[in-house]
Symmetry: C2
C-alpha cells in the first residue's frame, strides 16, 4: 500500500470491515496506543543493569549484556511471546497472525551497549517492539500477519547479530575479537546460540513482510527542529579510510623549514582539505578525522609518520565515490607539496541502505494520525536495519535524544517521546498488516 | 684580540717570540694538530659502551652512563689531567699554564646520550678536549692560561650539569625525575658528586677566560653546503608551548558539519597557521608541531580535545616574542571560527645565547690556518655552551654529521671531520691563550 492508497483506505475505515482490528474498538479511525507508563518503567528498571560510574556498560557478551538479555527474555515471556534464541544468538518471539500463509512483520532492535554508553540506544526499540506485541494482545487486536519481535545480538560490535541473520559473515569473521575481548564465535555460545550451526539462522529475501525499527535519533536534528518523530529515509553509506602519511623524522631545531618532510604538517593540511571539500558543496555529507596518531610524537622531533582516519558518510553512493576520489587527489597534492607520501587503506565500506517508500508512508501516516510532528531524514548512524534492508522492506522511526547525545551516560529520551515512538511503531505495524 | 689584531699577530709570527709555544717547533705559522688516529680510536672504543640493538643508550645516571664516565675518567688520567668530580657531578681536569694568575680556558662537552641515540653527540667534544690537552702536553706546548677540560653531567636531560655549574637550578629542581627515572639529586650522588653541597660547584662570571665546545652539527647545513667547519654564532632561544584545544565530542555520522565543535579540525588549522606564519617571512626561525594527542581518538567520534606542542626557535629574542603573540592570536581566530577554545601553556622558555665575537674569530681563523672550509651559523639545538655563555665568553665549533642525523643510532661523523674539529679546537685554544 502506498501513501495514496493508505489515505484512501483510512478514509473508508469508519464504514469498511477491517480485518484484524478488534471488534471491541468502536472508533476505527482513532489510532491504537501502547501502555507508555509500562514501557517507560521497563527502561527505568533496565537502567540498573550494567550501570557503572562512567555509564551503561552492557558490551556484547559481557556479564552485564547477559543480564540485560535475561531481563529482556522475561519481558518477552510476560508479553506471551515465548522467546527463542536462534543459532546466531538473536532472540525472537512471535505473536501469531490470523493467516499463517503470510510472512511475518518483523520489529525490534538490540539491547547491548557501547562502552560507557546510555540506556536508550537499542533498548528503546527492543522494549517498544515487545510492548507493541503485548498491547496488540491485551487490546484484542488480531493481525493477519505473524508479528515477530527480534532482539539482535551485538549491534554495537558492528551489527553482528543482523549480519549473521542475513548470512553476511564468514567463518573467519567469527574468530575476530569483539569489543568485550571475546570472539564472535565464543560470544554466540555465551548468549545461547550455537556457533557451529549459525547458518541455520540465516534469513532469505522474502522471509519477512517488512522490518520496522524504532530508535533514538543519536543526533540533534529533531530536537533542534522541535519535531517529535523522524521518518528515516535510509541509513547513510559509510566509508572508513586509514591514511598513513610518511615523512622523515628530524631535529626540530636544526632542520630549516624548507628542508623538512613533516608528516604532521601534511596531516594538518589534509584534515583541513577534507573538511573544506565536504563543506564546499551542498548536501548532508559528513567527513570526520577522528583518530590521529603521530610518530615519534615528541616535542622536538619533526614527525616522521601520522596515521589518521576519515569517517565519510552520505545517503548517496555516488557522493561517497566522488569524495573518495577527492581525498586521494588531496593526498597526492599535499604529498607533493610537503615531501611526504600518502597511503590509503579502506577499513570499512558499507553501502547506503534506503528505507522502503511504503514503510516510510506507514510511519508518516501513523505519526500524522497520532497528531505528532515529524520530518523525513537520513540516519547518520548505523543500525541493524541497514542489514535487514537487504532481505526485507525496511523502515525506521526516530524519536528525539535530548541534546542529540548518544553513546554517552548523558543519553536521554523523554518519557513522552518514548511513548510517541512506540505508538508510531504500533500503528505502523497495523498499517503494514493492512498492506 | 679581535680578528684584525689576530691577523696582524699571525703576520708577525715568523719573527716575533711567542709566549707559550714550544721551542721545538720551527715553523711558527703552521698550525698544531692533534693525534686524530688516537682520538678516533677512543670514539670507536666508546661505541661499545651502552650500545643496544636500538642505539646508544647512555642515558644520564644509568649504568651505561656510569661506565661511559669511567671510560672518560681513564682518558683524563692517561692525558695526565688528574680528573676530579665536583659536588655537582661534573668532571674537571686541568693542564696547568705558565701564569697562575690567569683564569682558565674551559673546553669540553658531555658523554651521556639520549635514549636510542648515537656515539658522537657529546662524546666528540669531550674526547677532543682531552686530546687537545694531551697533544699540548705531548708536543711540549705550554699555555699561559690553565686549560680546564670539563665533562658536564646529564646534558640530554636538560643541560643539568652546566645549569648546576652556573647555579641555575633550585633545590626543588633537584627532586625532578630525569629521563633515567632517577631524580637529579640521586643522579648527582650516583655520578660521584655531593648533592647536599652542589652549590660549592657553582662558577661565577669571570671564573673562566672563555668556553669553547666542539660538537657535531645535528643538522645537515654543513654537509649540504659541502663545508668542513661551522663557526657557531649562537644557540637559538627556544620556546615550547603546550596548546590544549577543547571542542565537544559528538557522533561523526549524525552531527551536521555546521554544528560541530571539532578540536581536530581546529588543531589542523592551527598547525597549518603556525607553519604559514614562520615560513611567511625571511629568517631562520623554525616552528614544529611535534607532539599531538587526540581525545577520544576514535574513528567515529568528533574529537573533543587535542593537546599539541609547538617548538619555536630563533637566535633573536624579538622574533620569539613576535611569533608567540602571533600563535596566540591564531588560537583566538581559529577558536572563534571552529567553536573551540585554545589554552596556551609555556613549557620551556630559554633565551638565545650568543657566541662571543673574539671566540668566533679565533675559531674562524684557526679553521682558515688549517685550510678548512667553514661558515658562520646558528645552533638550532641546545648545548651546555648556552648555559656557560652566561658566565664566560662562549664559542662552539661544529663538524658535519652525515645526513644531518643525530639523536639516532645512525648518527655518524667521518674520522677526518672528527680530526678537523679537534684541530680547530686546539688552535682556537692557542688563539685564546694569546688573547
Amino acid at each position: 500500500m502506498n501513501r495514496r492508497q493508505f489515505l484512501q483506505h483510512s478514509a473508508t475505515l469508519a464504514t469498511a470491515p477491517l480485518i484484524g482490528l478488534s471488534p471491541l474498538r468502536s472508533d476505527r479511525r482513532a489510532p491504537l496506543r501502547v501502555n507508555g507508563v509500562r514501557l517507560n518503567s521497563w527502561l527505568t528498571s533496565f537502567d540498573a543493569i550494567g550501570r557503572t560510574p562512567t555509564g551503561i556498560n552492557r558490551v556484547a557478551y559481557s556479564p552485564a549484556d547477559l543480564a540485560g538479555r535475561r531481563f529482556t527474555l522475561d519481558l518477552f515471556t510476560q508479553a506471551g511471546l515465548a522467546p527463542r534464541i536462534d543459532a546466531a544468538g538473536n532472540i525472537y518471539g512471535r505473536l501469531n497472525g490470523s493467516d499463517a500463509s503470510l510472512k511475518p512483520i518483523l520489529v525490534g532492535s538490540h539491547v547491548d551497549s557501547v562502552t560507557d554508553g546510555g540506556n536508550y540506544d537499542g533498548a528503546l526499540g527492543s522494549f517498544a517492539a515487545i510492548e507493541v506485541a503485548r498491547s496488540l494482545r491485551e487490546q484484542g487486536v488480531h493481525l493477519r500477519h505473524p508479528l515477530d519481535v527480534v532482539v539482535w545480538q551485538n549491534e554495537e560490535g558492528g551489527t553482528i547479530g543482523s549480519k549473521l541473520a542475513i548470512g553476511d559473515l564468514t567463518e573467519a569473521d567469527l574468530d575476530k575479537v569483539a569489543r568485550s575481548a571475546r570472539t564472535i564465535r565464543d560470544g554466540i555460545g555465551l548468549v545461547g546460540g550455537d556457533a557451529t550451526h549459525w547458518r541455520d539462522a540465516v534469513k532469505k529475501p522474502g522471509d519477512f513482510n517488512c522490518y520496522i525499527e524504532l530508535h533514538i535519533e543519536q543526533g540533534g536534528l529533531l530536537e533542534k527542529a522541535g519535531l517529535q518523530i523522524g521518518v528515516v529515509q535510509g541509513i547513510v553509506g559509510l566509508r572508513w579510510f586509514e591514511v598513513t602519511i610518511t615523512g622523515a623524522a628530524n631535529h626540530a631545531g636544526t632542520t630549516p623549514m624548507d628542508q623538512r618532510h613533516d608528516a604532521m604538517l601534511a596531516a594538518a593540511r589534509f584534515t583541513v582539505g577534507v573538511n573544506d571539500a565536504v563543506t564546499g558543496e551542498p548536501g548532508r555529507q559528513v567527513a570526520t578525522v577522528g583518530r590521529l596518531n603521530v610518530l615519534p610524537n615528541t616535542t622536538n622531533v619533526i614527525p616522521a609518520q601520522v596515521v589518521l582516519t576519515i569517517d565519510l558518510r552520505d545517503l548517496d553512493r555516488a557522493t561517497l565515490v566522488r569524495f573518495t576520489d577527492r581525498f586521494e587527489e588531496l593526498g597526492r597534492e599535499i604529498g607533493t607539496a610537503t615531501g611526504t607520501t600518502f597511503a590509503f587503506k579502506r577499513l570499512v565500506d558499507s553501502e547506503p541502505a534506503m528505507a522502503n517508500s511504503d514503510v516510510m508512508n506507514w510511519i508518516d501516516d501513523s505519526a500524522a494520525s497520532l497528531g505528532l510532528t515529524r520530518q523525513r531524514m537520513p540516519s547518520g548512524a548505523g543500525h541493524d536495519a541497514q542489514e535487514i534492508a537487504r532481505i526485507a522492506p525496511m523502515g525506521m522511526i526516530f524519536v528525539p535524544s535530548v541534546g542529540g547525545i548518544s553513546h554517552s551516560p548523558r543519553e536521554f529520551t523523554r518519557a513522552d517521546d518514548v511513548t510517541h515512538g512506540a505508538d508510531v511503531l504500533l500503528n505502523s505495524v497495523i498499517a503494514a498488516d493492512r498492506g
